[in-house]
């Protein structure tokens, strides 16, 4: 297939932003707070930051918010009334400035939310999201997209992928989906026809560091390995790695009661917490941190490919950057690959 390629002038981005606003789109873009970059709703173009290798948090919140009401209830003399949430209230969103390792993560997250039960709320949210990917011109020690099927200019998951042609340069826009085309149709003057531009030389260089198939093969025989104990000794069992990850999907269901009415809320949860698998009986099948760390790696590199035909890691490196004790997932994966069985 021939990709529709256009040139977007650097100065046109702000005009594009304004047109999206006029068309009642909610825009989520990267902003810096306390020197950490995260996505939030953008009211104006100024203030959106472009100076980041990767945002601290992924963009998954747009389809999988960290707290989300899934139903409301009320009790009266006649009994209990349950009301689902109104899916029509979900806004049309443009996700602006997403790196390719996150756009790829959308597919992996969607695989989980559509495994057996098709998650209505998640799917409805996602169907209203248009993804503006931005290729990477820089990378750091934590990045490893090229080891897990991605690359700094990967189009997968984007509706439009923007690649800046040199520092302060204009942008190549690759229009990848119908959603992307419909954005072009409301702002066609900003998307100039262009001769073939090659984006490769403007992309970051990220060397491949391991073979994920090989890791998957090792993991099949690795359940009882001592390696999990050694690797996880410094892990302090928090939720940082899971919460920043674009593909971690675990949640907890909570009821929030206010007198006779209330709501049921789905909240992020993490397999790193000691209470994550704690049973009512008091028994905990994952009693120690090594079992929880094993779960994290196994889930992403063995269980997901086995059951969902996708891996659960896009190599964004966020978990390593966010980890308070420098558990570096890339290092740990390499050492798994290096173990001889």
């Amino acid at each position: 297939m021939n990709i529709d390629k256009r040139l977007v002038r650097k100065d046109s981005l702000e005009k594009l932003f304004d047109i999206l606003k006029q068309n009642s789109k909610t825009i989520y873009a990267p902003f810096s707070k306390n020197s950490k970059v995260s996505f939030r709703e953008a009211d104006s173009f100024s203030g959106i930051t472009t100076d980041y290798i990767q945002t601290t948090q992924s963009s998954k919140e747009v389809a999988f918010p960290r707290n989300e009401k899934i139903l409301n209830y009320s009790k009266d003399k006649e009994g209990m009334k349950v009301k689902g949430i109104d899916l029509n209230d979900i806004p049309e969103v443009v996700l602006w400035g997403v790196r390719p390792c996150d756009t790829m993560g959308i597919g992996e997250l969607s695989a989980i939310f559509n495994w057996d039960y098709k998650d209505e709320i998640y799917n409805n949210r996602l169907s209203r999201v248009t993804v503006f990917g931005f290729s990477c011109s820089k990378s750091d020690d934590y990045c490893f997209c090229t080891s897990v099927g991605g690359n700094p200019g990967n189009t997968q998951g984007s509706d439009i992928l923007f690649t800046q042609l040199g520092e302060n340069g204009d942008y190549l826009a690759e229009i990848l989906t119908d959603k992307g085309s419909s954005i072009v149709s409301i702002s066609s003057a900003l998307f100039e026809k262009t001769e073939n531009i090659e984006k490769e030389k403007f992309l970051a260089e990220v060397p491949a560091r391991f073979e994920r198939e090989e890791i998957r093969g090792k993991l099949e025989k690795f359940f009882d390995s001592q390696l999990w104990v050694e690797q996880s000794l410094k892990c302090i069992g928090c939720g940082a790695c899971a919460y920043v990850c674009p593909t971690c999907a675990c949640f907890d269901i909570q009821d929030e009661a206010h007198g006779k009415s209330g709501s049921r809320v789905r909240c992020w949860d993490s397999c790193g917490f000691s209470t994550f698998t704690l049973h009512t009986s008091g028994h905990n099948p994952r009693e120690v941190q090594s079992q929880r760390w094993r779960q994290r790696i196994m889930h992403k590199f063995l269980i997901m490919p086995d059951r969902l035909s996708v891996y659960g890691c896009t190599g964004c490196g966020r978990c390593s950057r966010a980890c308070p004790v420098d558990m570096n997932i890339l290092e740990h994966l390499i050492s798994i690959q290096e173990v001889s069985l």
């Binding site: 928090c238 939720g239 941190q289």
Partner: protein, 266 residues
Amino acid sequence: MDDLRKRAKELLETSAVKVVIGYEQGTANKTRALFVEKAEDADCLIFDSRCVQNLATYVTKREVKDKGKMAITATLPVMRSIIQLASEFQVNDNNLLVLGITPESKLVEFKNLSEVETFVHQYQIEIDAKNKEMLDKIAKMTQAERWKFWIDELSPCFKCYACRAACPMCYCHRCTVDFNQPQWIPVPSHELGNLEWHIMRAIHLTGRCIDCDACYNACPLAIPINLLTKRMLEDVKINFGSYQPSIKADHLMSTYKPDDKENFIQ
């Protein structure tokens, strides 16, 4: 830090301890915790000004503690934490040896925790100028401004509890936020849930926090939650005189009995 490596080696060779907790080179320019169990691995130990993670959080971690007697590379904040933990019956001379590192980066070995306490008491806990300025600024705000400040700062918190996990004094097996019968603190990380969590955290650490900033350094979102514990520390000083962790002292905000019949107390 050759003398640290040498001493770690000796301790492991003579089986005086089973594990030495220290620092090694980490990713990029970071350092991170290292658990040395074999004498030959002691050469990976490093110490320099980048080594700020409070290693005392590991002395109550089951997998580390279960190895047997521990030795710990301890800067002043780590030593203070250990004294506080000793006063809460979490460590003692039988399970922990302290390899102290003085503020001048000198290695000192202590025979017992009581010597550590004497050493620690030579230094007052002082909040640094930058944070003091921030505390003053917050104190001078009107109530409404202060409310807005904290709502703005705390709303991004997604309750990953890295701050709790990194704090040596947050060692409870089951934290108040994890209780659901009754549920004290709302689980969702919304405005109320976050406020209650952080107020609870600050209160539970009052009179125990030794101002190491491990909580703040651990926060992936760089939320200045250490300002809450620093405020409490200042209040403790104002109301109860200077604050020092002490092995035998009464606790300020809690009573603690090892023979308490409730089993949630360790």
